[in-house]
Symmetry: C2
Subunit: 477 residues, 2 copies
């Protein structure tokens, strides 16, 4: 942390953001408690970010909070409420009418996020108390399935007609900006209300008044339909990396926008799901989920894995005779199987990320498979050799076996490790590629299959090798 | 897909985005090949999104591409190049001078992303050819370690003095907007060039001329220092969910901005890393990484896991005598260990996500631990019972053992499964919580420890139970 001090003439705290944040929160608390007139408090608070005020709000007592609600403007309250982690109890404090007004003041998609987590009755009561425009916006978003783009869109966007002048466009912008602060990209519609194109705000601001509006409209600016599945077009939306992309209905009318914030949320959701799937959950869980729902997400994989495990068991059964003769063999089974599993999981994780992130050619795929195999081979060579030495010594000393027997046994373990690791790498890369090709999500399907194949390979190699080497070749038992 | 058709009067394609995109690309190709005058082609292409043009560019032959470079403006070329997946070969086509000009035209952070992936010599040659301002910006970003916020910031932002009028502020905005299109939030500095606050663009646009600029400045708008570690403040930046947050040096001078795009990238990186860690990689890998580097990321875990596995092996060794008497026992060891591992991984994945996403109280943690145990118990009860029945029948029929022996053995398997799954759930939730408390990343450290503990518990339960039940109680061997 020393380099920070040299770069600064002041005493620089280590966790600076946390520190100046704590200061902000202390200041906000002081303002609220100052006892100054409401209008002064309101102006003072206006200098702070709604997120910081929200953090403080959660720590106040109910009485102070209620006094604060009466001081804040509706707009400020709405902004602060979008930053609360669990807004429900605070909405109750506001009372139905004011809560409805606050929700109506928010962007419709943010209001929807909050409404979704309330009781159905409370939700209906709040929506019923809103103005018609907010009601319409909220119903529109609710009308889409959560898999559809429409459920993620915001109705906070600016739209202007295509047949106006630069000056008129600027006036349209100013009149709409009051309610819609998503103004980086301005959408344009034609005389029939159909999507015509988009204007970058910076182009409008820097345009000369004698220019034609048409000159700054991108008529082929990308768009997306509200009823498309998010998963089908999110990758593409990420590629455009735009602050906002218009959402159209099938009549080509603009009905919403997807912002970078929505996209970031989607990435987070998607990644979280993959993470969950790799761990054998059907989808991501959260803290507040009821027991049965969690059980339902976990059980399917476990059942499948159990039956695959029974399959492996019946194969292990074939090697009962050799274990019957050399019981010592069982000591190292778990180690070899675990290592095969670990290597396979590594290959799987890398492969899934590669398949997801990039469009790769057949040649690149082949190169990738070979690379994974070489990594498996090198890892196996290193770890197999280490095991040969360590286990040989261990068996000789701890189990009082002859030096020759000890190293013949540890040789079986070492060679099995090497073989299992090469094959696990190969399986860990080929199986997800195959599923990807078959358009089955590799993060879901690959895990169990890979574990099973790896277990089988490891078991057969290990006990098979032991039988050949220790019994047939060296006649050690 | 039928509901799409009903909602639309036109024939709606299934993958609509992909489809209208393909159309865009076809149109772009036609424009480039049209043979019209350069200025017409330039204006026509200006209607399209740079990302779509970039997609087409990658498919053209070199000659056409070189003709296109001469048609496009520097600004358009720069924008298109930020969307190329691998810009290096196309930069070569431009020649050093024009490539340097294109990079200088980009946002500095985007130029840095491209420069980072070039040879050091080429990189230096390009930077040397840039104008002083671009050089400075690029050197500034390069001066930060990749762990620091400064390496992620953009120098594309607008800053105005705090002592001007609304009208002057608007003029400042217009003059800077040409070069900086990150205009949603405008930063304000005081007469000493120190950060003073921020203005939402919508407030400036809708402000009346008689208002004071001060009224619309948030003087306590959040900020971050360039030398802070990204991981320390990224969570907080996400909480603000702002389009841009100013980045200051330790003299409180504004030197850059963090945008939502940067944050989304950081989320993606972070999640990808966790994903990798859960799979026993020290950090995320990509396709183009050299073999040795990949090996270095994978080997540390494997070595650790191998030695932990050897530890388990020596414990299994204790049970050699019972296996020597009932070799059949080994059939089900892999199944029980795998199931314990699977349940533990599920609990681990859920716990890590919960710990990361939410600030939870001690009470909530306790509730969460109990929930995980109940899930483990219910899963164990279901799967243990299933195993008892299926394995009992299997052993009786396939291994020709007595009915009593078969079900005594399968009873051991069932009870071991139940025990292993409850304890695995517990371990899978307690270990990451412990690491979290100790400020060690639970995604890194938990995996191996959990596997080892679970293996030990499962082995001891299974063979111990077999010894007690089959030998001591029922005297079956």
């Amino acid at each position: 942390m020393d380099e920070k001090k040299t770069s600064s003439p002041e005493t620089a705290p280590i966790a600076a953001t946390a520190e100046h944040n704590a200061n902000f929160e202390e200041n906000i608390r002081a303002i609220i408690r100052s006892g100054k007139p409401a209008s002064v408090i309101r102006d003072d608070l206006d200098n702070y970010h709604a997120n910081d005020i929200a953090e403080v709000l959660e720590t106040l007592d109910t009485a102070t909070r209620k006094r604060l609600y009466n001081i804040l403007s509706l707009e400020m309250t709405a902004e602060i409420f979008t930053y609360l982690d669990e807004p429900a109890p605070y909405l109750h404090e506001l009372g139905l009418d004011r809560a409805a007004a606050v929700l109506a003041e928010m962007d419709a998609d943010e209001a929807v996020d909050i409404l979704e987590n309330l009781d159905p009755e409370e939700k209906e009561a709040l929506i019923a108390r809103m103005d018609q425009e907010s009601k319409d916006d909220i119903h529109l978003i609710f009308s889409y399935d959560e898999e559809q783009i429409g459920s993620r869109m915001t109705t906070n966007y600016i739209v202007i007609p295509n047949n106006c002048t630069i000056k008129q466009a600027m006036r349209h912008l100013i009149s709409q900006a009051e309610d819609n602060d998503n103004i980086d990209t301005i959408y344009v519609e034609d005389e029939n209300g159909r999507y015509f194109g988009a204007i970058e705000l910076k182009d409008l601001i820097t345009a000369r008044e004698y220019m034609k509006l048409e000159d700054i409209i991108s008529t082929s600016y990308p768009y997306v339909y509200a009823d498309e599945r998010s998963s089908d077009c999110m990758e593409e939306l990420i590629d455009y990396s735009e602050d906002s992309i218009p959402v159209l209905d099938r009549n080509h009318k603009i009905i919403g926008a997807i912002t970078y914030e929505d996209i970031a949320e989607a990435i987070d959701d998607e990644m979280g799901d993959d993470y969950a799937k790799l761990a054998g959950l059907t989808s991501e869980e959260d803290l507040h989920e009821p027991l049965l729902q969690s059980l339902k997400k976990r059980l399917p994989w476990l059942v499948l894995l159990l039956f695959l495990g029974m399959g492996v068991s019946s194969v292990v059964g074939i090697f009962e005779p050799i274990v019957d003769r050399i019981a010592l063999l069982i000591c190292f089974q778990s180690m070899i199987l675990d290592m095969a599993g670990n290597v396979g999981t590594q290959s799987l994780a890398v492969t899934i990320r590669v398949l997801m992130d990039e469009d790769i050619s057949a040649m690149q795929k082949l190169g990738f498979v070979f690379k994974e195999m070489r990594i498996g081979f090198l890892n196996g060579l290193l770890l197999g050799s280490a095991s040969f030495v360590v286990i040989g010594i261990f068996v000789h000393i701890m189990k009082q076996k002859s030096l020759f027997f000890s190293f013949a046994l540890s040789g079986c373990v070492g060679i099995s490790l090497l073989t299992a690791m090469v094959i696990s790498s190969l399986v860990g890369v080929l199986v997800p590629m195959l599923f990807h090709k078959l358009k089955v999500d590799p993060a879901v399907a690959s895990g169990p299959l890979i574990t099973t194949v790896n277990d089988l390979v490891a078991v057969v190699t290990y006990y098979g090798l032991a039988e050949i080497l220790l019994v047939d070749v060296f006649h050690l038992v």
